[in-house]
Every structure is written in structure tokens, then in C-alpha cells.
Amino acid sequence: MIDTPTLVFGPVLPELFLVAFAIVGLLYEAVAKRSDRLVHLLIAMSGLAMAAASSIILWNWSGDATVLGGTVNADRFAVVGRLLVIAIAAFGVLYGKHYLERSEPQPRGEFFPLVLFATSGMTLIVASADLIVTFLALEILSLSLYVLTGITGRRASNEAAVKYFLLGAASSAFFLYGVAMAYGATNTTYITAMARALSGTTGNQAIALLAMAFLVVGFAFKVSAVPFHMWTPDVYQGAPTPVTAYMSTSTKAAAFLALIRVFDVALQPLTWDWTPVIWVLAALSIVVGSVLAIAQTDVKRMLAYSSIAQAGFILTGLTSANSVGISAAMFYLVAYAAMTLGAFGVVMLVSARGEEQTSLSSYTGLFRRSPLLAGLMTVFLLSLAGIPPTAGFIAKVGVFSAASSAGYWPLVLIGTLASVAAAFFYLRVVVLMVMREPEGSHDEDPSLMPRVALVVLAGATILLGVLPGLITGLLRDASVLRW
């Protein structure tokens, strides 16, 4: 009668773990009189660890390509995406624990479950095989992030939250419209079925184009590509630093991976239609992000613009619309995650308590006050600027190479020239830190744990710059999307 789908939960185990541990955290927060951040951290970390472990096991998944009624992919792309997001989340909660302990008034312990929830949305979105799941996962991560952005209740935090929320909701509507159009064009919401429909005769080209337009808006908003980027500086600046660190990296990763899946699979037959759009968005993002960052005086805001530019670079890699470009973009995401998490981590430590010292002038003479922080920040900034031997360099070369192979060398030229402008503002921070003497008295946060995390990130940044082969093999395996 009713043919129930066979329930294979293996490929969604990571999500299940994340949600389960998030609920554990919620319960703990509800039960405990005065919740201990360390316990929260441990709960979250174990959730992440379990999720990561179950993801890794999925690398050699031998079951069906899609499970749970064909809504979830069990491919390697999903594995890599999940691992990336989970790793970012681990740093996010680590930062968060530290930040929560030192900020006044103390935000609530729901931070940790929310991060896990957001992470579950992100892991789900990269694994999604059905646009409706993509949409739901997008909402999960968005809603969590809206809350996280406003979690401290500070004025800036609130403002950021409301801006993020209003624009995010509007962009979700666009995205959903895109999903509707895609459904209208192909009579399906399965990503692979869409591709088949569009490459065959059953698809409706014109409606599919509309779908493409709306989906681009939705994704471009999430990855903060110009002109859908405008929330980014305000939100990154206003959100609590660990949240900024977390969302600037993980959202971008998740949204890009989902974008790759949707555009390189579902809309693959429309490649010639959407690559010019991506091209323009990439160019605009690179230029606007790089140029406007020059005028910034707040580090978080500057890094926000930088992330806009970085989004442009990743989009550059996607213009090639093949697995080379995908693996280049994935590498870029990994590198971007490491260096941006690192940079925001330094920002958090320099800010000391809460958000007191995020203006560039706080970095004056940092090298004298804390050589380690200054050194780490230099590594991250140089990597963001794309200077060898850091991961940022290899990443940039990778995406440029992909775009160039596809014949988009004018975009590469725009990118390289904008990199020069970008180098200027990255260097400015280096100048302030290393080449000027400190003025006034600032105290950095002396904590050890975040420093260890930063050293790990810096190590990764350099290691990936020197031996990118460590992960390029994985990424190449993962970048083959079958349909």
C-alpha cells in the first residue's frame, strides 16, 4: 500500500549526533543552576568529535548514493564538507567558551547548542540531495546564526542580529522562490533528477533560468558576494567575535559547497548561462571587497570586507564549472577557514574583554607587546593576501588556474590586480603591529588555550602552503560529483 522508504540513517549520523548533543547541552543548561562553560565545551566537543568520526566512516560508504528517500547524499563531497564545517565548529566553540568566560555580562550557555544546531544545518546542506532539504538546512543554520549574532545583547550585537535577520529572511524568500521555480521547471526537487530533466527534454529552460537567478541570489547572499554582501560588514562587526569567526568561515564553506552541488549538478546543463553571472559576481566581489577594505578602521570590519573579496576569489574558481575548479574552490575554503578563523582568533585575544579593542589602532606595536600574537596575525594576513609560502597563495593560484583554464583570464587579471589593493590593507595591519612602537597601554588576553588553537591554525596555514598535497588528493576525490 504505502511503500515506505527504507530508513538508512548511516549517512545522516553526523547530523544526528550534532542535534543529539545540542539537546544534551540544552538540557544541561536547563538543569544546572550555574552552568559550567567547560562542561558545555566538553559536550559540544564530544558531539563534534562523534560527528566527525561518523563522517570519516562515510568516506568508504558502499550503500546507496542517496538515502532517506533520496534526500541525502552519501558521497565523498559531503564527507569533506562536513569535516570542514565540523572542524570550524570546533574552533568556534573553543573561542566561544573563552569569550563567554571573559565578557560581561555573560551571555547564555545556549551558545554551544546553537553552534551545534547551526553546524548540523551546515553539514546537512552539504550532503543534501534534495533542494527542499537544502532549504531547510539553510534555514536551520540561518536561524541559529541570527540568534548567535544577537546572543550578547549588546547594542551592536542586537543591531547586527536584526539586520542579519531581516536581510536573511528576505534572501531566504528569494532562495525559496528559486526552489519553487526549479521545481516548476523540472517537476522534481531532487538535485540529480533536475540535471537529468534539464539536459533532457522534460525540463523547462526558461523557468530553470528564473530558478537559477533566484538561487544565485540566495547563495550569493550567504557567501556575501557583491551586491548581496551588504549585511556582511555590519554583521561581522556587530556579532560577538567568536560568532563572527565561526559564521564567516562555516557559513561560507557550507553555502559554497551547497552552491557547488546545486550549480554544478542540478544546473549543470545551464552552465553557459550561469557562469557569466558567477563571473560578474566574482569580479564585483573581488574589487569591492578589496577596495572598500582599504578605508576601514575596525579590524573586524576590515576582515569582513576581506571575506567579501575572498568570496569573489572562490567564485572565480567556480567559473570553470568542472572538477578542477571545484577542488580548487574547496581548497580555498579550507585555507580560508584556517586563516580567517586564525585572524578572528587574534582579534578576540587582542580585544581582551568583549569587543573593546577592535579598532586598528589597538594593533599598534603589537609585536612589542605580544610577539606571538603579532607573528600569528602576520601569518594569517599574509595568507589572506596570498603571499607564499602560505595556504592562501596556493589557494589563489588554484582558483586562478581553474578560471584561466576555462578561458576567463580577464577575471584572473582583475583578481590579481585587486589582490594588490588587498595586500595594501593587510600590510597596513602588519605595519602597525611590527613596525610601529606601541602607544598607550593595551592588555591582550593572556590565555593559553586560544593561543594553542591559533598556533594550530597558523601551522595549518603554512603547512597547506608548503605541502598542499596533503589534502589535494582528498579534495580531488571529493570534487567528483556524480549525477
Binding site: V324, P388, V397, S404, L413, M435
Partner: protein
Amino acid sequence: MSAHLLSLTIFLPLVGLVILLLGRGLSNDTARWIALSTALATFVVSMIVLGRFDSSLAAYQMVERASWIPSIGLQYLVGVDGISLWMVLLSTFLFPVAILASWKVDKDVRLYLGAMLALETAVLGTFLTLDLLLFFLFFEAILVPMYLLIGGWGGDRRIYAAVKFFLYTMAGSAFLLVATLFLAAQAGSSLGHVTFDIRDLQAVAHGLPVATTRWLFLAFFVAFAVKVPIFPLHTWLPDAHTEAPTAGSVLLAGILLKVGAYGLIRFNLALFPDAAKYFATFVSILAVIGIIYGAVVALIQTDLKRLVAYSSVSHLGFVVLGIFAFTEQALTGGVLQMVNHGLATGALFLLVGMMYERTHTRDLGKMGGLAGVMPWLMGAFLFAVFAAAGLPGLNSFVGEFLVIVGTFAVSPWFGSLAALAVILAAIYLLWSYQRMAQGPVREEHRYLPDVSLREVAVLVPVLSLLLVFGVYPKVLTDRIDPSAKAVVVHVDPQGQPTQVGLVQAQESPP
């Protein structure tokens, strides 16, 4: 070991760098000795390379290859030929000298020396790599340590100069990267696999449409023209030179500028021979303008370092002129001149630095009569001045002469105009020497000390090479010549005047 001699040369400085960065408790002196011995060890290794170099071959030798990042086609590929050989030796020679010359740097010594060693690796990498992308990687990697050296230990406007240096070079290299990737993409479509091996890319570039190669040529050219620097892309140089610390100026003038000229030979000529011929006149005009312009502008400078910087613009013009004459003599002379300029200008900057340590000024108007106060230092200065001015018997002359002769065979006008710079060089160099060393001595300079033993150790190797290479340049030319000839033949396989030869003279008189 011996199979990886070049790799050893490139990465040996990194060993010192790691020790310096990890050694928190190292005293400044220990750090200095570590850096110096690392640099000296590198020099020794490079001398072994020289010893094993087969001067009868034009091709790359001691090639090492390893796959590195197959996903983007990047491989670790190094090799040496007669042109890069001398660039490498020049570098490994100047680095210990520069380290020794900065013995008195007291601020953040470990970082300073670390930056120097990192710079050495990057520079050696650019000279030895045969992979275009790897070259770009090293090319970019040069920027950071140099930027730190200028910005961290430089003069009053050091930050401006450092940032300018960085951005200028980076802007130029933007074009390089685009062209590189474009070329690799072409390789991907014509060879079936993306590669950056310049030997493969030669073939690929050969198959491209003429217009394309011209654009590619220009892209490469811009990148290297900034680095050389070729007029009118030179304005970063005076600032960078002026503000850099002594060792920074030495390395900048001695080595970094050569990276640009080296790139022109290695890539512009080798990859796009036809485009190179097409643009030869244009580039030569720029070079000649640069030769004269640099000299004329140097005439009026009152800051000693600025003056030397502009003289570099002039001298590097010779190099470029030589490169784009496409005769064996001119190209050999150009390469020779690269070495010579490195040594002579390096020596000048060393001396300016030593003088600055004593007088605390570089303003020529605030000096005078120093030859009486410190005869040895000023004597050395005069020696370097005459080397730079192209006095026969000292090194620069041979290079300049070969360039002039080689160019003359192609274009007497360029050759003649270039020769005019010799007059101007004499004027500004002697004028600066006069204002510094001659005339009445200023009261506050009356009791300045002459050279110390350390400074002698710094100067003697450099100055003696100025003489040795002037008297017996065959050491260099014998090894440069085959490679230079190969390049020239590649550019102009059946060109008429590639050779200044004995065509007429062979008809011996009755």
C-alpha cells in the same frame, strides 16, 4: 647529497631560519654567528655547484624534479645554467657579506637575520627554478622578508618605502601570474596536461598566435620591468633604497634587481622569441632612456643612497639593453653586468652604510673632507666609485663594453647613446665623492674612526672581486657564453648580426 646539490643550496638558509625562530633564548651574538655560518655554508655549497658545473654545456644541469601539487600542475623543478649559475653565486656571496655588514643591528636581531635567510632561500629559488609557477612562488616570497627588512629596520620613511616596494612589485607580478596561468592553460589544451615547465612551455608558446604571444610578452615584461626597474616603472627604487637598512640596500641592489633582468632573459626571451624581437626596439629605447635618465637625475641628488639608487636605474638600463640586442656579446655582457652591478653597487651601499654609522647623515651637503679623516674607508669608496663608473680594469667596464659592442652591431645609435652615460656616471659619482670626501672637513667629523676589522672583512671580498672580475672576466664569461649563445640563437635562429665576429678579419692581409 650530490644529486640534490641545488636543493641543498636553496633550502640550507631555511635551516638557519628555523634555528633562529625557535631559539628564543639565543643571545644576539649567537644568532649572528648562526646566521653567518648558515650563509657561509650556503656559499660553500654553491661553490661546489660551480665546481661541478660543466661550462661546455648550454643546457640546464643538475636538474632535479619532483611532483609537488599535481592538481594544479606545479612541480618542484630546479636546474642551473650558465646564466643562473652566476646569479646564484652572486647571491650566496652577497648574503654572508650583508649579514656581516649588519652586525651592529641591535633591534630584534633574530627576526632581522631570519628575514635575511628567508630572503636568501626565496632569491635562490627564483634563480634556480625551471618551473614558471614555482618561479612565481619564489618571486612573491621575496616580497615579505624584504618588506620586513625595509619596514622594520629602515629609515624615517621606511613604512612608505616598504609598502610602495611591496605594492609596486605585486602589481607588476599580477600580470605575470595571469600570463603564467594563461600559458599553462594553453599547455593544458595543447599538451594534454597542465604544466609550468619552461622547457615545455617554450614549445607551447611557439604554437600560439602572434598577437597572443605579444600580449603575454608584455605581461611578463611589466612584471620584470618593475623589478629591474626599467624606466618609467622605477620610482619605487629610490625610496626603497634610501629607506632600507644597509644590508637591505645591498641585497636589493645586488640581487633583487637581478631577478627582474634574469626573468627577462629566462622567460621573455625564451618563451616569446618573436614577440621579443618585435618589441626589441621599444624595450631598447626604454633602456636607453633609463640609462641616460637615471644618470641625469642622479646628478642632482643630495642623498647619497638616492644617488646610488638612480645610478642603479642607469646601470640596469645597460643590462636590459644588452638583453634586447640579441647578440651573444651583448647578452653575455648583460649577464656579466648583472653580476658586476651587484658587486659594485653592493659595495657602494655597504660603504654608504658604514659611513652613515659614523656620520649619521647621508646628506652630501653635510659632509666633506672625510678622506682625510678616514682614508681607508674613503679609499675603498673611491675604488667602488670607479668600479661603478666603468673604469677599465675594474669589473663594470667589461660588461658595459660588451653591451655597447654587442648593441653597436645591431644599432649604433643605441650603443652610442648608452656610452654617453659613462660621462654622466663620472660626473655624479665624482661629484658625490668630492662633496663627501674632499674639501675641508667638518668639525663634528674630525675624529671619526676608520674601518674596523669587521668592516675590512666585509669589504675585502667584495672589493677584490671588483678587481678580479675586471682583470679576468673569463671566469664568468666562459660559463655564461654557451647559455647566452643558446638564448640568442633561440631568439634569432638565422639572424644576421647576432655575432660580432671575425668575418672580415679572416681575410688576412697579404
